[in-house]
Symmetry: C2
Subunit: 235 residues, 2 copies
Amino acid sequence: MKVVRPSCPSCLTKSLSFFSDLDKFDLINLSQNKTCNFYKKGHIVFYEGRIPTGVYCLEHGKVKLYRVGLDGKEQIVRLSTPGSLLGIRSLLSNERYTLSAATLEDSVICFINKSFFFHLTNKYPKMNADIVNYLCNQLKEAEDKIISIAQKPVRERLAESLLILNRVFKPNGHSEIKHKISLPREDLANIVGTATETVIRLLHDFKDEKLISIDGRSITLTNINGLKHTAKVFE
Amino acid sequence: MKVVRPSCPSCLTKSLSFFSDLDKFDLINLSQNKTCNFYKKGHIVFYEGRIPTGVYCLEHGKVKLYRVGLDGKEQIVRLSTPGSLLGIRSLLSNERYTLSAATLEDSVICFINKSFFFHLTNKYPKMNADIVNYLCNQLKEAEDKIISIAQKPVRERLAESLLILNRVFKPNGHSEIKHKISLPREDLANIVGTATETVIRLLHDFKDEKLISIDGRSITLTNINGLKHTAKVFE
DNA sequence: TTTGAAAACTGACCCAGATCATTTTTTACA
DNA sequence: TGTAAAAAATGATCTGGGTCAGTTTTCAAA
């Protein structure tokens, strides 16, 4: 875990994040009050059960938030992309982390301590409003997931998850370009809430149905509308 | 749906709610700015898809929040008890309702319009903090439910749900007294995320195992620790 | 370029829990 | 108090998808 020193005023993900309204002075301040680390793929950012002492800001890379069940099986609850704050829920409600976070690829993650973060939220009311909005969105997505897992068969859920991953894993701003989803089948299974073997079998079916193409470990969606149809997603 | 007129300053659920810090003046103001209705058991408070114009405050009774799937099967996402605000998530994130709300028993529910509600949240910063906390809790509970549905067998989930219902349906403050859970088996199934017949069979098993007693339609938990054990809940 | 460990894949088998059809019990209300 | 409709209960059957035990492929490091 290497220490790196990106500066906040020039941070590329700033515009995506909660810090977009900070003035120049506070951005420099933020730069000085944060610590920033490089995490190799697969490394753990924080563990469930630990007490938060601040908040993590994902600058580059991808992170999974998950919980490990009694039988050792993990359930991925959410994926995070650059600009997201990790662990903010536990910090705000003053509780231990209820999820663990691990990187899905090499990532750069900054850490901002509690007191400085709250100093900022107090100074910028807009930040508070953004945070409320963020929590609302997460709640909506969590409720969607409850309904999806409770009611839809695995086939539909997998199609749904592939569509979501396609959005999440898309390179910045290039929505039209076909890109690869590169995630172990096991992680995919832990997102969908099923067994790895079932994911593999269904991916094979999807390939036969020309919905996706598989190249080694990575997946490309070749028929988005077809997938929406099999996912029974209509909007 | 009868109009009733309980006064906010003397509202019994005030102390449980987000309005506990309002001064006398604003409580009287709130009384005058709200409309309050009596809803018979089973009636709908709001429908998924509608645009919120304010927020509902449950004064008396019980409410289920649910979504109906494509096949007509409903999934209950959450239950609300007196003092809760209904529909606040959609109001705050300025979206349509994503869930429907219906009463589980005769209830009294007040409605506070958007502008007056935001007037209050602006005036009382504590209200904002309480709301953030409330959202955090709901998010945590939603995430718990995702993991529970994805990983636990129905038997464990049913035991878990009975324990939660026992807390939710408990008469005010009397935690030690054994009371009846009176909820149709179908609703119970829609909470757990399973078929009604499966709930009935498992309740029968629980009865045989002396974990609960069944009296007609209502259920009493007779062995809380036993249920915790079958639910694999440890805290 | 080789190689060995990890990931992906395949096949066989099985069971938790869904579905459907029917009977019995409960409860609301005439 | 009787009765009809709703809810609960029971039985039979079926299947989606989990589990286990292997084989094959991929890929990163030597």
